[in-house]
Symmetry: C2
Subunit: 156 residues, 2 copies
DNA sequence: CGATTCTGTAACTGCGGTGGTTACAGTTGT
DNA sequence: ACAACTGTAACCACCGCAGTTACAGAATCG
């Protein structure tokens, strides 16, 4: 599976874009500031997200990226597939010995096992949307609140 | 997730050991021959499988590895966890910007998302045992049968 | 218009993980 | 003693990734 942090970065970026949906485009420099990485990393990410139809980007002064789909419509498996290109589950690097009965048959079986495991993972991801992520971020924030005044509300 | 082929190797090795369960230990050289890799790779694998209690190994002449649990009792998620040591799903490599509302809250949410995805994957793996793998290998083998006598030509 | 602010992409680096390989000490059966 | 094993260290080469620099091109604004 994905051993990269691209998926985490992607969800992070999309979350920022969702919050700033009304404020126009967000430039890669700003996004990089929130993720704490390099603008080029963000742009590479945005290229993939754009190909997947999740964001639009605008060149030039005042440009940047904008979410092009409502957060409720963006399931996380779509983000996952947009970001992680190839097969994530690993196969035999070289063909096993076909003269061994196990070597001859194992690949086909493992293919099927890997596919179902991969599918289960994506199905689980599909159960959450970007809107869910935003909602989860709002409740029970980690530590100090900006204005912990309205603390009483949390109980509901 | 796992970007290695260790899991494939491990299932392959266990399948061979399951088939040769009665014939005593199988040495790493033989196993390497079937997987088509180096004996040391197999031994490194066997070390982990032994720690997980799935196999026993015997040093010395005539030694080798033996399956120590019945194939029906070996679910693939156990193999997976025995082989893949750390967290497979990737996190933020460095802490996101805590001064950004998204950066401050996203990690906790992503942790939960990743954990559930990982769990879904392992649950799917747990639905299969090594015995299932062996059974799947027996049915509809890829091409030529050992004795395709009953089947008159490919036409049938 | 030209300056500025962006994107998009290429090119390169460094790092970490992995499979592969050699080597060798220790163990066990014959 | 000898041969056949395991277990493990040490090392290599490779690959993918995040990160970085650099630059061409596009859009906006004065």
């Amino acid at each position: 599976m994905a051993s990269s942090c691209r998926f985490a970065f992607a969800v992070h970026v999309l979350a920022v874009l969702a919050l700033k949906r009304e404020s126009g485009g967000v430039c890669s420099h700003m996004l990089a500031g929130s993720v704490n990485t390099n603008p080029v990393i963000i742009r590479r990410l945005l290229t993939r997200l754009r190909h997947a139809g999740l964001v639009t980007t605008q060149k030039g002064s005042g440009g940047g990226a904008t979410l092009s789909v409502a957060p409720e419509k963006i399931a996380l498996d779509v983000v996952y597939r947009a970001i992680e290109p190839g097969e994530s589950f690993a196969q035999h690097p070289h063909q096993p010995n076909q003269r061994c009965p196990v070597g001859a048959g194992i690949e086909r079986v493992l293919d099927e096992v890997f596919a179902s495991a991969q599918s289960a993972l994506e199905t689980e991801l599909s159960r959450r949307t970007l809107a869910d992520v935003l909602a989860a971020m709002d409740e029970v924030p980690p530590l100090r609140r900006k204005s912990p005044r309205a603390r009483s509300r949390k109980a509901a």
